[in-house]
Amino acid sequence: MSTSSDPGPTPACLSALAIDEWNAGETPSAMRAAHAAHIEDCAHCAARLAAATAEAEAFLQDAPTLAALREGLARPTPRGGAPGDHHAATVRRLPRIAAVTTAGLALAAAVMLMVRPRLPEDGTRTKGSARLGVYVKRDGRVKRAANGDVVHPGDTLRFTYTSQAPRHLSVWGDDGQGLTRYHPAPGAEVAQAEPGRDVPLDFGIELDGALGTEVFYGVFCQPRVTADAIRAALERTPPSPPRDCLLDVIRLPKEPAP
């Protein structure tokens, strides 16, 4: 997430409010397309979005709840440090698969929807009215993957969801080292998923070289199920959906490219 190649702002750049609304998923609908196009083209704004995400993560790591924030106020901890210090800590915490958020969404969604095949009908992972979809981009070609499909280092994964009812959706990954939440972005607690079929999500994952099975969880919940409750449910053995949630699981064995 280096900003060393940041070319600096232009008059068309997003304001601080626009950046914050974008991260919170609250961009007014009239501005959404223009902002997506700008972020796609502007390294400066892409870097600002990444920095805001990293800063939010650092803040929440330090003060994950209001009670923790209060506790921190009561004890005189040396906090000093520039915002950049937090950033470095975040970079170290990155999982071995890197999330590529937002940029390229519109294009990727368009490409992926052009190749949308029939939904897989394997009953093992279909859970009623909500499910996760995954597309793999390899050597410039995009194809839909099904549970159990083999993926390779360097593949890029994009996700969609299908839901018959409005729900809150979060997408998590487990690479064998621990759970990572990919959607919604850090700092945002919930993401509303409107009913739809194969609706593209605004992040992608580029697979690194570590081999093993990548597991992805799509958790479709009623409002008010917290991220912590979802995480706790996914950390159970075997992972189970929290109350008031539907869980869809996709397992993708990662093997060396032929």
Binding site: P9, T10, P11, C13, L14, S15, A16, L17, A18, I19, D20, E21, N23, A24, E26, P28, H44, R48, A51, A52, E55, A56, F59, L60, A63, P64, T65, L66, L69, R70, G72, L73, R79, A82, P83, G187, A188, E189, V190, P223, R224, T226, A227, D228
Partner: protein, 178 residues
């Protein structure tokens, strides 16, 4: 009570959208980081910013009815944090100390404000009428557009333009004073 009630009432008319009070834990995780970043920027130091974020969220816990009628939680939080920052800057006990704070390096806004310019803005804010001070924070302190400010204040962009002009006059008058 609405946080906008202390702004330029009668000109800025909040529009009402039915939005249930969100779960506070969710709300905190989603909006506290932005609140903290803005408070740190506006107040100029991390400890005051943390305290302010705590106070704002604790107040929401006490009086969740503040959420009602808000069309966007991000703009609602902008409004709440700005209001709390202004109160803090105007509080005599904090004022002398806060006015001396340098600003952390600003990397968010395209219209980058120097630490010096922000420190002098902060001293002006304490003397400005509240409606002007609010607009000065958004426009001069954070580089927001007229449209952004209009959405936060729930006013027309034209009214924001008038307020920005009045802020400019206020600053010019202050600078003209010996």
């Amino acid at each position: 009570m609405s946080l906008h009630a202390e702004g330029p009432a009668g000109v800025c008319t909040p529009h009402t959208v039915n939005m249930a009070a969100p779960d506070l834990d969710d709300f905190y995780r989603r909006y506290a980081p932005v609140a903290y970043r803005r408070a740190r920027h506006l107040l100029g130091n991390e400890d005051d910013a943390r305290e302010l974020v705590h106070d704002v969220f604790a107040s929401l816990l006490d009086r969740p009815e503040q959420f009602r009628g808000k069309s966007s939680l991000t703009t609602f939080m902008y409004s709440a944090v700005t209001h709390a920052c202004l109160n803090r800057l105007r509080n005599q006990r904090n004022r002398a100390r806060l006015l001396q704070q340098g600003m952390p390096e600003e990397r968010e806004s395209p219209q980058v404000r120097s630490a010096e310019a922000l420190a002098s803005l902060r001293s002006l804010l304490a003397r400005m009428p509240e409606d002007l001070a609010t607009v000065a924070i958004y426009y001069h302190g954070e580089g927001l557009t007229h449209d952004d400010i209009a959405r936060i204040l729930e006013c027309s962009p034209r009214h924001v333009g008038n307020l920005v002009a009045r802020v400019r006059h206020f600053i010019e008058r202050q600078e003209a004073q010996p």
